[in-house]
Symmetry: C2
Subunit: 438 residues, 2 copies
């Protein structure tokens, strides 16, 4: 065997220990329960997709610089690690033509992007996606926004705003009103507003060869930000004769009438990088923590058609799990409060055949009654066993020695209160259940 003296993980990847996983699983469970309450059901798709399936969906930069592409080690096919959960959903729909519509699915799974690692940004990260396939109507987008709002609220992440814009409005304003023929570079510059500020955007636009007067108009336009309910009339007033803007604004108006929330904010600087969006686009931010977006999504009415040739509208939202956890920790609404799921540690007072046998029976009883139990596997002194249990903050210790075996009893010690009691074996399960459910 090769000697490997410097074990490491690839850059941008990481291990998660029990404390992190226990928190993470509780956050996922919460998100998942909300997905289900809103009527979404789970699917899973492969981590590895054929590259050709993912090609041409995300934009050039994503495809060439961010996607983990690789050749089949045994052949010529080109694969890619899943870049998001949306294109795989579109492929799924194309391959499962009997799926009843509307199809409301959720998917909680890792995706891979070769981005520069930074706070809350990894090369392997979990997305929690909910999408509605089949409905072209604003109520589907509204349902998605209500879902996203509910998740952030119930997780306790306060001060979340969901920014909203519409690709049709962007098209109407930038292409028709401002006469920008190929707005992709402009969008890319606007997308950096958060990072590089207005001056940075001005500089980028200049480098694209745009005239000063158009640049100033772009900067004026993207400063438009207000509650969604107010934005509609403003858009109609400014661009009432522009059919693209009007169709986007009408759609947003219907969404607004269902969602009715002050936390949904129209923001003209929101452009979203991914190529596949066609209608409303969303992005969740929290102003209390500087970490970029904590979720986003939008409507993609043409993506599935690329696979099937049949128009199949769809809309969805993706929660960035890793950033949500980072934000929750910083805001103090999440914490690493638990090191283990173990509720009871059985301390064996002496290594003795009778004591061991009796202990194993007690352990089996507790486990069969749904209690999480550990015991000494290291042949340590009872002092060391107790130390180990305390290091993990296990709430209940059970001591078993000769006296306990003889009396068919156990001694129970509750870590937090310091309470110590001798309990009949026959009433132990009930006693413990009472203590750990408190």
């Amino acid at each position: 065997m090769t000697i490997q003296r410097h074990p490491a993980v690839p850059r941008g990847f990481r291990d998660l220990g029990p404390e992190e996983m226990i928190l993470r699983k509780s956050v996922i469970a919460k998100i998942e329960s909300i997905f289900r309450r809103f009527g979404f059901d789970p699917i899973d798709t492969p981590s590895v997709e054929l590259f050709e399936v993912m090609a041409g969906k995300y934009g050039e930069e994503a495809e060439n610089k961010l996607m983990w592409r690789f050749k089949d080690p045994w052949g010529d096919r080109e694969y890619a690690l899943r870049y998001d959960l949306t294109v795989p959903l579109a492929r799924y729909i194309a391959m499962h033509k009997d799926t009843p519509m509307p199809f409301k699915r959720y998917h909680i799974a890792p995706v891979w992007r070769h981005e520069e690692p930074q706070r809350g940004r990894y090369r392997e990260f979990y997305q929690c996606d909910a999408d509605i396939v089949g409905s072209p109507y604003p109520e589907a987008d509204a349902e998605i926004l209500l879902l996203a709002e509910t998740i952030y609220r119930e997780l306790g992440i306060n001060g979340v705003k969901i920014l909203i814009n519409d690709r049709r409005i962007l098209r109407g304003v930038f292409e028709k009103e401002l006469g920008i023929e190929n707005p992709l570079g402009v969008y890319r510059a606007i997308d950096k507003l958060d990072k590089i500020g207005v001056e940075g955007v001005r500089k980028e636009l200049k480098s694209l060869g745009m005239s000063d007067s158009v640049i100033e108009k772009v900067l004026e336009v993207i400063s438009m930000r207000m509650p969604l309910s107010e934005a509609i009339s403003d858009l109609m007033r400014r661009y009432g004769s522009n059919e693209h803007v009007v169709s986007g604004a009408r759609h947003l108006e219907e969404i607004s009438s269902i969602v009715r929330s002050k936390n949904i904010v129209f923001d003209m600087s929101l452009v979203r990088g991914l190529d596949y969006y066609t209608g409303p686009i969303f992005e969740a931010i929290t102003e209390s923590v500087k970490i970029g977006s904590i979720g986003g999504g939008g409507r993609y009415d043409s993506l599935i058609e690329l696979f099937t040739g049949v128009r199949t509208p769809a809309t969805g939202f993706s929660i960035g799990l890793d950033r949500v956890i980072e934000v929750g920790l910083e805001l103090g609404v999440f914490s690493y409060s638990r090191k283990t799921y173990t509720q009871v540690y059985v301390v064996i007072m002496e290594r003795d055949k009778d004591i061991l046998e009796y202990s194993l029976e007690v352990i089996r009883d507790l486990r069969e009654n749904g209690i999480n139990v550990s015991w000494d596997l290291m042949r340590r002194s009872h002092q060391k066993q107790r130390e180990h249990a305390r290091k993990l903050s296990i709430p209940v210790l059970i001591y078993i020695g000769k006296a306990e075996v003889t009396g068919n009893k156990v001694t129970v010690y509750l870590t937090e209160s310091g309470e110590r009691e001798v309990i009949e074996r026959t009433s132990l399960v009930e006693y413990i259940k009472g203590k750990i459910s408190q």
Copy 2:
């Protein structure tokens, strides 16, 4: 955008729809709850590892023919998709030196192997692993076996036998007793016994250039199969002066005294392919379904040392989730009984502003009370809405029309019983909870 007319997934990969995922999630939840009852806690490790970390751990065939290796698309580093969850655990321990021992972790996650796809065998599949790091003692192996037995039993997979052998016994018998110098080829032949039968193994051994008399001895030896408790004395009688066999047998004897189960069967033909095992090795099979092993594991006392230079004993077991599900389905203990988590579908009788608003309030109320609710997002007739709800076998339908809005009521229809009742809105949540918990 590229037109992709033939969407497909890579060979050996697959999509899982809601019905499959709902079953899968219930099986995983059961396994996970048992892991926790036995005192195991979750960790996660990256899907992508540095190739050098995985090199030299699994044997040559695995490394060169089965491992998904690939070059960094942007550099020279070589990566590999995770081949199992054991080597990543060893690396984790090496990189987290402050982990309290014993460390009992579980990990439920996909791994990737480039095997020929067949029934219950995919190129991406889930393993559910539990391992104990830090204990060299038989009680750790016993704990692992009790855990595995409990899982199969509580999942309802009857007739599972856990085969057991020990690498030291194999070494003692094949190298010392039979004088086979490099037993790897022999093990590989024996490993195929299930598939190719005794005659096949004989042929393979012959092709290795072994003499007929040694071949016959090998075939006699590997026919040894009996309950673990009986095997110890048999091994001592046959090989009592062989120190390797004796140390293995003594270890198995202590395991047996704790586990005491007739389902643990000593089997000399069990060799296990992976290079890293050093002591007891396990494999779970079910004789009622022809599908190969449904789980396996063993002790690997030297693996972590490869990374750290410090001896750190470890033992574990891996449940093959995909095969367990396949077996459960065939035995009829699992079934695809649920198409959706949705419990209530709200049928909107007419597209009318008041009805829609009232319906949205009812929906919000139900969801806020933990009930899983869907409603029409397709602007369909109420007949079509009902059809959709029935297609998904949603148990409760709520009809809301003008009369309901006026009376502040809803009409509830229970799919299974055909019961139909008009309910006050104020008592709706309670009523529904009573019906769906039945």
